[in-house]
């Protein structure tokens, strides 16, 4: 999903910058899950709730990590442009998969740029949670396989 450049400015330090980007991805996912929620069927409500709660929890924890270093995190954008039209449960599930993949990519960057083991462990857990959520949404879609070899990564499968 796209939005105007986030405020405040992205920190120059690579570790903080990657964390800043991951928080921006979490803001976007939290917004996007509102749209997903509006179009999913009742039998996937549990997955919507679980996913949105996980994104909120990670956003708050990541903001706290930046705050500990007196670095300001990004604010949510005033609006986001969805990558595709979302009018059906299937389109909603596809958007969820894409948002989980986007967040996974952002968290993998945090893993690579982080300078402390604590930050890295947090980012590894976040990447894993996004991969699990993407797999669950793929299961909802009936897509096979439900998993990918390198969540958040660009390696050849």
């Amino acid at each position: 999903m796209t939005s105007p450049a986030p405020e405040p400015t992205r920190p120059a330090n690579p570790g903080d910058g990657a964390l800043f980007d991951a928080i921006a991805a979490e803001h976007a996912a939290i917004y996007g899950y509102g749209v997903v929620s509006a179009h999913t069927t009742p039998d996937t409500n549990w997955l919507v709730s679980e996913s949105i709660a996980a994104h909120r929890e990670r956003r708050e924890a990541a903001l706290a990590l930046l705050d500990d270093r007196s670095v300001a995190g990004p604010l949510p954008a005033a609006g986001y442009r969805l990558p595709t039209t979302v009018d059906t449960p299937e389109q909603a599930a596809k958007l969820a998969v894409q948002m989980e993949n986007d967040a996974a990519t952002a968290w993998r960057a945090v893993v690579e740029q982080a300078t402390s083991e604590t930050d890295r462990a947090f980012a590894v857990a976040a990447l894993t949670q996004c991969a699990v959520a993407a797999a669950r949404w793929n299961q909802v879609l009936g897509a096979t396989p439900v998993t990918v070899a390198f969540p958040g990564g660009a390696e050849q499968a």
Binding site: D43, A104, R108, A109, V111, E112, A114, E117, R120, A121, A123, V124, A125, L127, T128, C130, A131, V132, A134, A135, R136, Q139, T144, P145, V146, T147, V148, A149, F150, P151, G152, G153, E155, Q156, A157
Partner: protein, 155 residues
Amino acid sequence: MLVSAAVLALAGAASAACGEPPPPPEVAELAAQLDRARADSRLAAEAAAAERGAVAQALTAVAAERAAHARALSDELVRMRGKDAPTAEPTPSETAEAAPPPKAADVSAALKTSAESATELAARLTGYQAGLVASIAAACTAAHTVALPAPRKTS
């Protein structure tokens, strides 16, 4: 004891004693991940051969993903060492003909152990290596929690 140059090259970390500077500890740790990926891939392929339908499909996908992990880890080890990745440890007893084929639950348990091992290692590595092992940890976790258990019932 006389050994050929080819054997020395294959001996991997053990060859460090023969005059080369010792390899960084990450080499042994990534090599252990490589062994796990190869073993999981083989186990999943064997289990897939004895299964049918959706379970066989999921196991085949796991075998392919773990094989892809092995390739990526091997590539990284080649980059680090400037030579071939160590070969897998021989495990003849595992593939003995008399043994019954592994079940999906065995593969799931192996993936869980691999996921935990990769999760722990990823936090201690840095840079690309940390990222690669983190993605492997995420893939193993998603495979054993979502792909291999029985599909969640919809009420």
